[in-house]
C-alpha cells in the first residue's frame, strides 16, 4: 500500500492555508534534510528548483518534523478548530 493511499484512509478536513511553514533561507543551507526522512506521512519533498517544500494536507499532526529539524526552519502550529486530521480509532 502506498503512503498516499494510507493517508487517504484518514478522516481529514483541510484548511485553505497551511499550518506548517518553512524558512526557505534556512532550508537552502541545510545539507542533512532530516525532514525528508522523519515525516511519517512523507509530506516533505524537494521541488524542481531543489527547494524544500511541504504539503500540509494529509498531515498526521505529530510534530516530528519540527523536532527533527534541528535548524529551526519548521514553523508548526496546530490547524484551526474544525480542521486537520480527525482520528476515528486513535
Amino acid at each position: 500500500m502506498k503512503i498516499t493511499e494510507k493517508l487517504a484512509l484518514n478522516a481529514m478536513k483541510n484548511d485553505k492555508s497551511s499550518h506548517i511553514e518553512l524558512d526557505p533561507r534556512i532550508c537552502a543551507t541545510c545539507r542533512e534534510r532530516y525532514c525528508l526522512y522523519a515525516c511519517p506521512a512523507n509530506l516533505y519533498s524537494l521541488n524542481e528548483k531543489g527547494e524544500m517544500v511541504v504539503e500540509f494536507a494529509g498531515c498526521l499532526e505529530c510534530g516530528t518534523c519540527m523536532i527533527a529539524c534541528i535548524y529551526g526552519s519548521v514553523r508548526w502550529k496546530y490547524p484551526e478548530g474544525g480542521f486537520g486530521v480527525q482520528y476515528r480509532f486513535g
Binding site: M1, I3, K6, L7, L9, N10, E32, Y34, L36, Y37, A38, C39, P40, A41, N42, L60, E61, C62, G63, T64, M66, I67, A68, I70, K77, Y78, P79, E80, G81, G82, G84, V85, Q86, Y87, R88, F89, G90
Partner: protein
C-alpha cells in the same frame, strides 16, 4: 485524557470547569499504541471503570527479538485467576476519550470542541486565562493538557525547546479483522487480548521497536523510533518505509492476512523520562499528562496513559485546595509537584532515570537480539551433518557473542535498569 481526568476530579466541586478540545470531539486528535494498566489507576479513580470502552483485556504478553531472517518470541500467558490481579486493557483513544468526555459532561463540565488554544493571557508572570481564536477566556487556574508538543508550556516559559533525544515518533496502522480471527491467530479466549513488542533489526539500527496490540475487531500495528536516532542512523531511509517492511515480515504478515487498514496515525512519545519533564506549575497554571513530559519507556513496558489520568486527578486536588485557600499563586500550586513526587509517577520516573542512556546503546537493538536469535536457530537446526552437542553449541555461541569486554560493560550498564 489528562485534562478530562482533571475535569472529572473537579466536576463536583462547585467550580465552573471548561475543557477546550482541539478536535471535533475528545479523542479525535489523540493516538495510543496502546494499552492502559488499571491497577495504578483504581486508587485515584475508583468509580470510573464500569462501562469503560475497553477493547480487550490483555492476557498474553509477547516479546519478540527480531533478527534479519529469524525471530524468537517469549510468551507470557496468564492463568485466569491471575488476570484479575493486575489487568491491562487495550484501548483506542477516539472511543475512550469520547466516552470520558461524555461522563464529565454529564457531571456539568463544559467540553467545547474545535477550540484549540492559541495563547496564554498573562498579567505580569501570572497566567490569567487563554485565548482561543477570537475568544478570551479568563480563569483562576489554567491546566495545560495540550499534549506532548505543549505550546502552552513553552509560552509559560516552563520549558526550553523540545529535544530530538527526548522524543520518539510512534506511528501505526489500525487493521480491521474479525474478532474470531484475532482470537484464533493469537490463541485467545473470547474477549481476551494480546500485546506483542518487537525489538531488533526491524528498526535497522535505530533506537525503538515495533508493537502489535489486539483491539476488539482490529489490530494496532506500529513502530516507535527515536528522533535523534532517526536523524543520525546510516544508511538513511524514510521512516514510513520501516513500517511497510515490518508488515512484510512473516511475524506480521501472517497476523494481518486478509485484514484491511482503516487508519494511519502518528504521535510523539517522550523518551527523556525525568530529564524531559518541565516544571509543572507556575502562577495560575498547572501542567498535566504528556504536556508535563509524564511518560516512560521501561524497555519492555511503555507507560503514559496512567500517568496522564493520575496527573489530571492530582492537578484537580491541587486546584480544590487552592480554591479553599483562594490562592492560585505558584507557591500554592507547587503542592501539585509534591503530590506528583509522592505518587507512583515520579517514583517510577526516578527509578528509571538511567533508561535513556541504555536505550541509546545501539547494541541493544542491533547486536543482542540478533545474537540470541542466531543461537536459538543454531540449537534448533538439523542439517546433513551430525548434530553437535547442545552444550557445545550453546558454549560456542555464548563465547562468541557474549564473553567479551564490550558485553561486560553493557551488562554493568544494564544493571542500572
Amino acid at each position: 485524557m489528562a485534562g478530562l481526568s482533571c475535569a472529572y476530579e473537579l466536576a463536583d466541586s462547585g467550580m465552573t470547569i471548561l475543557v477546550l478540545e482541539r478536535g471535533d470531539f475528545s479523542g479525535s486528535k489523540n493516538v495510543t499504541g496502546g494499552r492502559l494498566y488499571l491497577a495504578p489507576l483504581r486508587g485515584y479513580l475508583p468509580d470510573l471503570w464500569k462501562d469503560a470502552p475497553f477493547e480487550r483485556r490483555v492476557t498474553k504478553e509477547l516479546l519478540t527479538l527480531v533478527g534479519d531472517t529469524h525471530s524468537a518470541t517469549l510468551e507470557l500467558q496468564s492463568s485466569p485467576s491471575h488476570q484479575q490481579v493486575s489487568p491491562s486493557y487495550t484501548v483506542l483513544r477516539a472511543k475512550f476519550d469520547r466516552w470520558l468526555a461524555d461522563i464529565v459532561s454529564e457531571k456539568g463540565v463544559f467540553v467545547i470542541p474545535q477550540k484549540p488554544v492559541d495563547d496564554l493571557i498573562k498579567e505580569g508572570d501570572k497566567v490569567i486565562g487563554v485565548r482561543a481564536g477570537q475568544e478570551e477566556l479568563g480563569a483562576d487556574c489554567v491546566v495545560a493538557a495540550d499534549g506532548i508538543l505543549s505550546f502552552m508550556v513553552g509560552k509559560a516559559g516552563l520549558r526550553k525547546a523540545l529535544e530530538p533525544r527526548h522524543l520518539a515518533l510512534g506511528f501505526k496502522e489500525v487493521i480491521a479483522l474479525p474478532s474470531e480471527t484475532i482470537e484464533d491467530r493469537f490463541r485467545l479466549g473470547e474477549g481476551e487480548g494480546a500485546a506483542q513488542l518487537f525489538v531488533g533489526s526491524l528498526t535497522k539500527g535505530r533506537m525503538g521497536g515495533g508493537f502489535v496490540y489486539t483491539n476488539k475487531e482490529s489490530l494496532s500495528v506500529g513502530m516507535v523510533v527515536g528522533i535523534h536516532s532517526l536523524n543520525q542512523t546510516e544508511p538513511r531511509e524514510e521512516v514510513y518505509k520501516l513500517l511497510d517492511q515490518f508488515k512484510e515480515r512473516p511475524e506480521i504478515k501472517n497476523l494481518i492476512r486478509g485484514g484491511e487498514t482503516v487508519e494511519y496515525s502518528a504521535h510523539l512519545i517522550t523518551e527523556g523520562g525525568i530529564h524531559g519533564k518541565p516544571k509543572c506549575y507556575t502562577d495560575g497554571m498547572l501542567v498535566v499528562g504528556d504536556a508535563a513530559g509524564l511518560g516512560l519507556n521501561m524497555l519492555v513496558t511503555v507507560r503514559g496513559m496512567e500517568y496522564a489520568m493520575v496527573s489530571g486527578v492530582l492537578a484537580g486536588r491541587t486546584i480544590k485546595r487552592a480554591k479553599e485557600q483562594n490562592d492560585f499563586s505558584a507557591a500554592s500550586l507547587a503542592y501539585y509537584e509534591k503530590l506528583l513526587s509522592e505518587s507512583f509517577i515520579l517514583k517510577e520516573m526516578m527509578t528509571y532515570q538511567h533508561t535513556l542512556s541504555i536505550l541509546e546503546n545501539e547494541r541493544l537493538i542491533s547486536k543482542y537480539p540478533q545474537a540470541i536469535v542466531d543461537l536459538f536457530e543454531k540449537v534448533m537446526t538439523v542439517d546433513q551433518r551430525p548434530k553437535a552437542s547442545l552444550y557445545q553449541t550453546l558454549c560456542q555461541g555464548l563465547k562468541k557473542e557474549f564473553f567479551n569486554l564490550q558485553t561486560l560493560k553493557d551488562w554493568i550498564q544494564f544493571r542500572k535498569l
